[in-house]
């Protein structure tokens, strides 16, 4: 299958959307593919919404700004509402239903809801909903090899061993949910 990933990850500042983007981008780096990661930046980062575009491709990447994602990770309702209409036909949306109470459908788009934040709380790994959603997206759309994804998590979240363990649990939660 075509593994080209054009992903938007969006949520409130502090929910880890930029971090989740770095994990995906690093997976692309490990596989030696073309990679770009582009954050929204500016005053809206401080307490407002934060989103990033991530592209993994086998071809050189044009604009790093993803306008028509084939994958959207939505961490809150405003982000879901804002980016759902931009998702390309055949694309997939993974949303945290704990934060996005009103899931909607869009023509030609698969919308998957998972109570990521709630699952994390129950598992004692609060705050890792972003990683759960990566796992869920990967299960539905394996945009990279599993080893690369796990390796990326180790690189990006691996500074503190205890944190890495929690991140691994979160990824697995998402993959199996």
């Amino acid at each position: 299958m075509d593994r080209e990933l054009q992903c938007v990850i969006a949520g409130f500042g502090g929910q880890g959307s930029l971090f989740a983007g770095k994990v995906i981008a690093t997976a692309g780096l490990i596989e030696d593919r073309e990679v770009s990661w582009m954050p929204s930046y500016g005053p809206e980062m401080r307490g407002g919404t934060a989103n990033c575009s991530v592209t993994l491709s086998d071809e050189p990447i044009g604009s790093p700004l993803v306008l028509h994602p084939n994958a959207l990770i939505a961490l809150n309702q405003p982000s879901f509402d804002k980016f759902l209409p931009t998702v390309a036909e055949g694309g997939i949306v993974v949303a945290d239903t704990a934060m996005v109470p009103e899931l909607r459908e869009a023509p030609g788009v698969t919308v998957v809801g998972i109570p990521a934040a709630k699952l994390c709380e129950e598992a004692g790994i609060k705050g890792l909903g972003n990683i759960v959603l990566i796992g869920k997206l990967w299960a539905a759309f394996p945009f990279c090899g599993q080893e690369a994804l796990e390796g990326a998590l180790a690189q990006v979240a691996g500074k503190k061993p205890a944190m890495l363990e929690k991140n691994k649990i979160a990824l697995e939660l998402g993959m199996k949910a």
Binding site: K22, M38, P60, S63, P64
Partner: protein
């Protein structure tokens, strides 16, 4: 082969500068270049270098002037409004024949403008970075890899010709991460000596003076002419451009930096629709790659210049085309990044207009 790492453009420029032997950085905070300064603040103390947050962009560029006169490889970084403030010092550096590297991570203007990516400082960088008769070398990277490569090379070019060199980036390139292979580090101790530097004569030579004041008109004219001879050498040796699918192109797109990435996507989309499109991407904006562009335009039917401004480089393209082919412009401004579909539509419209 060196390892590929994932880095922000801003950080890649900072790291590459350090690898080029730059141990002195003078900055002032401004979005969207802040990561350059933050990176330097973190790394310089580890190698015994200087990171100094100046009281203003004006002070920062004058610290660069002093450090350069003293013989060091030195850099400063800012974004559009800050470059306006640095323009005084850049003119003095040019007038005193001092090398140095200035990064501009452009944002929308004029005035305070916005903080989103822009290329609206093309004219400022290539025509009038400050008052007086002078040019600076301007590199326009288009990828994070190129940001590292040209930030590194900028120091060599600056030292070779004793001119200020600018890296003209934009907020998109500065903020984005891509895989990058960093250049191999140079030990500053291995760099060639600068016999002109004002670093204390030790009674071993006459005193050196770094100066741009010449009150005798004829003397100043002579000096400016000598400098323009050097600019001629730069024009002859340092023009850089990348050609993409231009061999048989009817429509030649011309774009630099971030806009060139979008233009490249549009070229591929146009080819899929049967339009023979190609891209000339100037990598040096000054000297402008006239020869490469003229060659690509030689067999083209029209040119389309794509910029993130209201149309600035398009004038240089028209000078090169010199009436031989129509040169049209498509731009977005104020911080808006054009979408590939918009550029494709402009290519299709132009292709329809110039016909077979």
């Amino acid at each position: 082969m060196a390892q590929k790492v994932l880095m922000k453009g801003n950080e890649a420029m900072a790291e590459a500068a350090m690898r080029a032997g730059c141990r002195h950085f003078f900055g002032y905070p401004i979005t969207p270049q802040t990561e350059v300064a933050a990176y330097m603040a973190k790394m310089m103390p580890k190698v015994g270098g200087t990171y100094l947050q100046a009281e203003s962009e004006v002070a920062a560029i004058n610290m660069v002037y002093g450090a350069s006169a003293a013989g060091a490889r030195v850099m400063t970084s800012s974004s559009s409004p800050g470059i306006s403030l640095k323009s005084e010092g850049i003119s003095y550096m040019a007038g005193a024949d001092l090398p140095g590297v200035i990064i501009n991570v452009q944002r929308g203007g004029p005035g305070l403008g916005g903080i989103q990516p822009s290329q609206a400082d093309y004219w400022q960088a290539t025509k009038a970075t400050g008052h007086g008769d002078f040019q600076i070398v301007v590199f326009a990277p288009s990828t994070v890899q190129e940001m590292a490569d040209y930030a590194f090379e900028a120091f060599d070019v600056a030292d070779r010709y004793r001119v200020p060199v600018m890296i003209l980036a934009d907020g998109m390139l500065g903020q984005m991460m891509e895989p990058v292979v960093l250049p191999e580090a140079i030990d500053p101790a291995d760099l060639p000596a600068k016999p002109w530097a004002t670093c204390g004569h030790g009674h071993a030579r006459p005193h050196n003076v770094a100066n741009s004041l010449y009150l005798t008109a004829a003397a100043l004219e002579d000096l400016n002419r000598e400098r323009y001879e050097r600019y001629g050498a730069i024009k002859a040796a340092e023009q850089r451009a990348e050609c993409y699918r231009t061999e048989d192109a009817d429509i030649v797109l011309v774009a630099f930096g971030g806009a060139a990435r979008v233009a490249r996507s549009a070229v591929n989309a146009a080819r899929e629709r049967g339009i023979k499109a190609g891209l000339v991407r100037p990598i040096t904006l000054w000297p402008f790659p006239e020869d490469t562009l003229a060659e690509a335009l030689d067999h083209a039917k029209a040119a389309l210049v794509v910029e993130m401004n209201m149309g600035q480089m398009v004038e240089d393209v028209r000078l090169v085309a010199n009436g031989t082919v129509p040169v049209e412009f498509y731009g977005r401004t104020g911080g808006v990044i054009p979408a590939p579909e918009e550029v494709l539509a402009a290519v299709e419209a132009l292709s329809g207009k110039v016909g077979e």
